[in-house]
Symmetry: C2
């Protein structure tokens, strides 16, 4: 097969969906994408594993990254794609082969872009972070990603999602003293002691923070609790795992200090964390993007790969045609009108000034 990048972007979406690329098996699709971009002549195309990177070198004042992952979650009887009226059904229709199609279609059809462009089509976004192709390229070839602004074409239903919140998990542990439950007063019940942790969580008032017009809403929640030795033993240990989602005006260190302050007096262990990313919408390349698109801007509350660009000092947003609520579902579909609209909106930005 040959990918027809310049034709109908809806047909291109269907062609990409019909080319399975579950995480770890992106190789053949990456080959096709590499070949198609090379065929356009105006890009310098390179590759790291199954991540394809294509760059223009037009000497424009700003460079913009357009990025999308090639992989999908496992297929659930929903390939090949199926069209019903305006809707296109199939694995990856929303997350995110429609975004990839918009990206590739613009790459082929914007002949005189206002910015130099870097296209990144990467592998292994749907699996553990250590395998993520964007992260790997950032480590192996940070120069390939150098840019003033990045747009990830993840599903946002046509809105612009700026930055992302950080996430941190901590284990908050109570300690007691074991005893036979028939003589419980000889022990100290660590599960009973965990009431104070849960009371703290119930009383916690989460912040809402406005940054560059994006409202971030923090949250501190128990996501796991475990304790108990045996059915006749007063337990000497109870662990509550809490997840703190924090706005990007806090660094990881500040987030940790906050969690430790909230649970002062308890045994607190930070088990994992990932920093947030400021929306950076006041940077010129980003402000221009928002102005040209005229799309609503909102905070991204979950953690996404925009944080990888932020860690490289590049402001980044998500903007894509898919509906994020349909991602990873067997009944996944994309409204094809959103594909056309996304192409039009991004074309205004890429071909402007």
């Amino acid at each position: 097969m040959t990918l027809d990048l310049a034709g109908d972007p809806v047909a291109l979406t269907a062609a990409l969906v019909d080319f399975p690329s579950v995480s770890g098996t992106e190789g053949p699709l990456a080959d096709e994408v590499f070949r198609a971009l090379e065929g356009l002549k105006r890009y310098e195309v390179t590759r790291d594993g199954d991540t394809v990177v294509a760059r223009t070198n037009l000497g424009r004042p700003h460079r913009v990254v357009l990025a999308g992952h090639l992989d999908t979650v496992p297929i659930a009887g929903n390939v090949p794609s199926r069209r019903e009226g305006d809707l296109l059904y199939g694995c990856g229709t929303t997350d995110m082969k429609s975004g990839d199609a918009v990206l590739l279609h613009l790459a082929a059809t914007v002949e005189e872009p206002a910015h130099d462009l870097t296209l990144v089509l990467y592998d292994n976004e749907e699996v553990e972070a250590s395998k993520n192709g964007l992260g790997r390229v950032g480590r192996n070839h940070p120069d390939w990603l150098a840019a003033d602004f990045a747009v990830l074409l993840e599903p946002t239903d046509g809105t612009v999602e700026g930055g992302c919140q950080g996430t941190m998990r901590a284990k908050v542990t109570t300690h007691g003293k074991r005893a036979h439950s028939a003589r419980s007063w000889h022990g100290v019940n660590a599960i009973h002691a965990a009431a104070a942790i849960l009371d703290t969580l119930n009383a916690y008032e989460a912040r809402q923070v406005d940054i560059d017009g994006c409202v971030y809403r923090e949250g501190l929640n128990a996501v796991a609790v475990s304790g108990g030795v045996a059915g006749n033993v007063i337990p000497d240990r109870c662990e509550v795992t809490v997840n703190f989602r924090f706005a990007p005006d806090r660094s990881e260190a500040q987030a940790e200090a906050h969690v430790r302050e909230v649970f002062a007096g308890f045994d607190v262990e930070i088990t994992d964390s990932a920093p947030g990313a400021l929306p950076g919408l006041s940077a010129p390349a980003a402000a221009n993007f928002v102005a040209e698109l005229g799309a609503p801007v909102q905070a991204k509350l979950g953690w996404t790969d925009v944080a990888r660009f932020a860690s490289l000092g590049i402001p980044a947003v998500n903007f894509g045609p898919g509906d994020p609520n349909l991602a990873h579902q067997a009944g996944e579909y994309v409204d094809t009108r959103k594909i056309t609209e996304a192409v039009q909106a991004l074309r205004r930005y890429l071909a402007a000034d």
Copy 2:
């Protein structure tokens, strides 16, 4: 070997310890016990599996059971027995071959007992209740156990422990609504909701109840807690397992009603329970026992096989030479002076009136 029942009860204890009988392997020891009791002539000796039952038929006004289990927990490098001064070390020295030796020695040496006697040496006390030899005989041959009073020679360090508390476990569950933890306000956190369960447990005031001079001390405790779906999901379910230890003036049904009242409004499921046993020390045969022994009487807080006799309508107590704190330990030992004292105390009772 032949067991010398009439000789030194300390030597008899050592002989029983040196004859391994870990739960499930009591057969050879039960054979020896059967043969030794038959040799005494004045008992009608019978058997169910590895449980030996021997009964006098002297037409006395009351019948008293003396019972002990033949099995031990697994040997931990502590067989054969070893004597150091007044202490005899080895697996089962305290739990409960010293008690068995007292029982068998009295069987052989009290020639004119004041009460008809039923001796029960049973298997599989140290393993799951369904295998318990006393329970099995109670189901297969309840008439073998018919009596006015029962003494179990379990380790009590020479005190009389009356009745036993009941035990009940219940699962108290909270329900919530799942959501991504980045948008926690779309969910309802079931772990946070469990704060109310733990607050209830912390505020609970346990009863103390005096029955026949035995003070029972109840307790209501969490023994396990679990909840959590994934590190990024607001959990929709949290289970707290509570263990209620209740005085024997409550039936199981009353105990259940109490637990349901304490946790009114929560989803409560009773997962297992065992009834308590009233000390029954006001019954003539039991009152007589306490008076003759002159030993201190206290409530048994844990659950023991006296409850099996109680379920047959027979008041029962624990009274034995071993120290219960040493049971099931590799360094298990019995103070041999306690063996002699127990023989003397029980002889006063069995040979009295």
